[in-house]
Each structure stands twice: as C-alpha cells, then as structure tokens.
Subunit: 310 residues, 2 copies
C-alpha cells in the first residue's frame, strides 16, 4: 500500500468546525479563536524507550497523543489540533487500526482535538506528534518561572502508578490491568489545567518524575521548595502493591505520571481541580534547593537528596 | 551531555517578537496575527531516504526546514514558527552546530521563522519539523482542489536539477557544487507563493516530481491537463549536464525540486513570481488525465504516459 492510500485509509479527517482544510493538501488550514495565542508542543516516542516494545497499538496511539495533550494541560491551554509524523517498519492494517483508535480515544477523553495532517515514512517505529492549543489573549499561561516563596505546591491525582507498573513489568511480575493503564493510557489533565490556570503562579506536567520536573520550576523561578513526602498522593493500588522500600523512589523519580504539579497562593487553593483530586505536598521557599521532609518536618537522609538531580 | 544541556547549547531561542514564551517550558506560546488562520505542516526526513547518507549537517538542517517552508509557500502562507523533533545516534557538537546553522540559514532566506521548541531522542538520525504559517482571514489559500478548465499551468524556477544531482551522485559522477546545492539546499518559494496566491486557483509544491504532484491537483480538482514538455523550464546547468535520453524523466518524475506548480487564469498571468521566473507549461482541461505533448502538440508515446502513475 502506498503512502497516500495508507493516509486515506487510517487517517482521514473527522468533521470538525475548526478545520477549514485538513489532510490531503500541502498543509492544513485551521480557523483560530479570534485574538487567541497559539500554544505548541512536540514530542517523539520511540519503541523500547518511551513505551515497552510489547505495548498494544491502541495504547501506543493513546500515549503518543496523551503526552502532547499533557503539555497543553500544563499551560492551561485548550486543545485545538495536532499533526502526526509516523515512521513504521511495515504497513500492518490491524496495528494501524488499533493505533488510530487509541489516538481517537484519548482525544475523546480530552474534550476533542482535530487531527489535521501527517507524514508517514518506512523505518523503525517512531511517532512524533505536534499539538496546538489556544489561550485567550488576556489569559495567564502557567509557565515554569512564576513560582513565589510561600506558594503551596500541589499535584493532581496520584504519583507512582506508572513507575510501579513499569517496575513490575521489567521484573516479570504480574501487572493488574488498571495499573498497566496508568502507564500506557495516562489521562491528560486538560480540564484541571484550565481550572488551575486562573490561580496558579507556575505549573509543569510530571513526565520525568516529580523531583526532576519540580526542579525545572525551582530553577526557572529562582526559588526552593520543601516537600512533605508523607503527603505525596498515592492510589489505593499503589499503596497495596508498592514495596515500602521502593515507594518514595517510585513516587518522586519514576516518571510517566502525567499529573500536573502547580504552585499557587495558599489562600487561592481550590478543593479540587475540575473534579480531579488536588493534594498539597509542600511549600515554595526563598531558600534555593529541593528538600524532602517527613511528616514531622525532619529532613530526609542525604541519599534522598540525590533525587533532586534527576 | 544530557538532553536539557543539549537543547540549551544548540537550540536556544533567537529573539523574535512573535514569541511570548519559547524553548524551555512545557509548550511554547506564540502571539498570532489577529484574525489570521493557522497553516500547519509536518515532515519527517530520514538519512538515506530523504537525503544521501553523506549529506553535510548544514545541508541536512537546511533541507529539513526547507521542505516544511515549501509547503507553507504552496499555501501562500506567511511563515511564523516551527518546532523540531530530533532523533540522534550520538551527541556530536560539531555536527549539531552545523545542523543548527543550516536551519538558521534557510530561515533567513525565507524571511524568518522562529524556532520555538523541540524534542530530542537517542536513535537513528531522524528529523521531524512542524511549521506554522499564518493566512489572513479573508485571504484565499492555494488549495489543490481549485483548478479549472482553461487555467494556465505554470511552474517557478526550473525543474530537474535536484534529480540530476542525485543521479550523478548515485552513478559516482562528479557533481558541481551549484548543482548539489539544488538537491541539498532548495530555496523555499515563500515570496512567490504569497505573490501567486492572489490569482491562483490551485497550487502544489513539486516535491515528489511534477508528474505525481500535478496529478494530485488534477484528482482533487476533477480535471485533466495537457503539458508541453518543450516548455518545461531547465537551468543552464541542467541543459549542459543532463543526457538527452534522461532529461524528460529527470524533469517530470525526479522530485526534490521544491518549485511551485500553480494553476491560474491565463489572463491573470504575472510576468514572474515576486522576482522568481514563472514559466507556463500547459493548460488545465475538462478531459481527465495528464497528457504529455511535444512542441507541436503531438501526444508523446505510451511509455511516457507511465509517468502519470508516480
């Protein structure tokens, strides 16, 4: 099957009023909300590196788009459209069908985003998605550089599930389906991002692990932070399955959570983020550095400080 | 060198008033011309497939962005910003420096486009660029589906140089630098596209060869075409170096020209396209099919008809 037939078969346009001209021309043409700014993000996912080699095609499609949607969520943007650059070892109709359904499914749980173009090549499996979101002219974006001393640090959902799933898979242990889905099919926090944007001084999505991602905020904002590790939110599955000795490592350096980490004035703290649980885990400080503390405020051992370097 | 250091070193932002927030956050944030539509295109280039393995890094950078700029040109859009997803076998500072200079150089000859973000991975060399252009709310885009019987068919510049360069390289023949640059460093027809947009009914950029690309217009528009092969524009280099028996094949099916092919009313035909030569090569017809004719209007042999199937 040639490239054009492939594109027509699996990646035809869905009807979307935002799209004036979609797949099949030199470029796509989008109507844009008047006055709105453009938020843009691009991510490449490679088999074996960003997802296990045996990941089902549906989950690969889901996750490929989810990571970009998560970046839009972390800016408080409204998803509008995406393009897909797909390098495939071979044209496998069943695989492509599942992959396309995965893209469609994560788009649906994210309030919709229009697929408007793409490119296909032959080669080792690689997926690059570039997603566009909009942000009203007068809306504040949740950047990384706005955190201020005294801000509460809060995270959506729970941390550690994806890292636990990956650790169990790599150790050859059973992995409950619900846990595996936290690794393979993260839910982008689109509505949460838009709700938090109104109050937040800074935000990031937790993709590389809380320690490393929070450090990006601290460095960009020129501040420090104190985190109470006993307040890190964990799912019921995580609490049940994670070995006690591994919990902290999985929660702060595991990655792939795709939760939002936001810094906002303590007095503006909402009870939740558009229905998603929101847990305060610490405080922004004027003193540089990232300090992990127990529930009594005691600094954790030097070995734990290492987590800041991820 | 880790990913963050790599990005900081080679892909820092250039100052650009269009960019509110560039590289280094979850996503970039662009100011957008009020009321303008968004034109978006994405392309992946792989070593050995889209450029010879021994292509210098400067040329790889140039060509990677040029193919996307050429798509924007074919829509008559104004380049605004791009993101770069780069998969690299290793971090080679000299290579990256040359590659970044190539990107910068083609951006400069195209009136400027802001680099606003990217992603880097380890793996076989692959470059995916997604470029955004703007098009005023009331501007007509040059789509593929607007060609009408009686329209003149015209192409910018000349055809066949890039294919000739590739053929000579593959045959182990010498390739003059100027010819090699037509393969490695195509000049996107940005100004020409904007000038032609006012009159054109349809357009495409010639990336896969005139025969195949013109067929996309004919199919999308539901029309046919008669082409006078003696009017296909050729450079002085091409005329001198291309073997007579190969000329037509190189000009109509060689690819990599990145010229614009436009269909426009004969009475609106400009003398050139913003300074770039514009050559009429044929006429759109109500009769389906793509017919190649000699200067006397005689249909060329059946074997030549085969070109339409690329």
């Amino acid at each position: 099957m040639d490239e054009f037939a492939l594109i027509r078969r699996f990646f035809t346009d869905e009807l979307d009023e935002r799209v004036e001209l979609g797949i099949g021309d030199d470029a796509a043409l989008l109507r844009w909300p008047p006055g709105a700014r453009v938020v843009i993000t691009t991510d490449t996912l490679l088999a074996g590196r960003h997802f296990p080699e045996d990941t089902p095609a549906f989950s690969i499609g889901w996750k490929s788009l989810a990571v970009s949607l998560s970046d839009l969520a972390a800016m408080g943007a409204m998803p509008q459209a995406y393009v897909l650059a797909l390098t495939l070892p071979a044209v496998n109709a069943a695989w492509l069908d599942d992959f396309a359904r995965g893209l469609q499914a994560v788009a649906a749980v994210s309030g919709g985003i229009a697929r408007v173009g793409g490119d296909t090549c032959a080669g080792p499996l690689a997926i690059t998605i570039t997603a566009l979101g909009s942000l009203a002219a007068d809306a504040s974006a949740m950047r990384r550089d706005g955190a201020r001393p005294g801000d509460a640090i809060a995270v959506t959902g729970s941390l550690g599930d994806a890292a636990l799933a990956l650790a169990r898979l790599q150790a050859g242990l059973s992995c409950p389906q619900a846990l595996r889905e936290r690794l393979d099919q993260p839910v982008p926090r689109i509505a949460a991002g838009q709700a938090l944007r109104v109050h937040a001084h800074a935000a990031i999505d937790v993709s590389d692990g809380l320690a490393g991602d929070l450090m990006h905020i601290l460095e960009a904002s020129g501040v420090g932070a104190d985190i109470d590790v006993e307040r890190l939110p964990a799912s019921e599955m995580f609490t049940r399955l994670a070995p006690a000795s591994e919990r902290l490592r999985l929660q702060v350096s595991g990655g792939d959570d795709y939760e939002l980490c936001v810094c906002l004035p303590a007095e503006a703290l909402p009870g939740d983020a558009a229905g998603t649980p929101l847990q305060v885990i610490g405080t922004i400080s004027g003193e540089p550095g990232l300090r992990w503390r127990d529930g009594q405020g005691r600094l954790l051992s030097e070995s734990l400080h290492g987590f800041r370097h991820f």
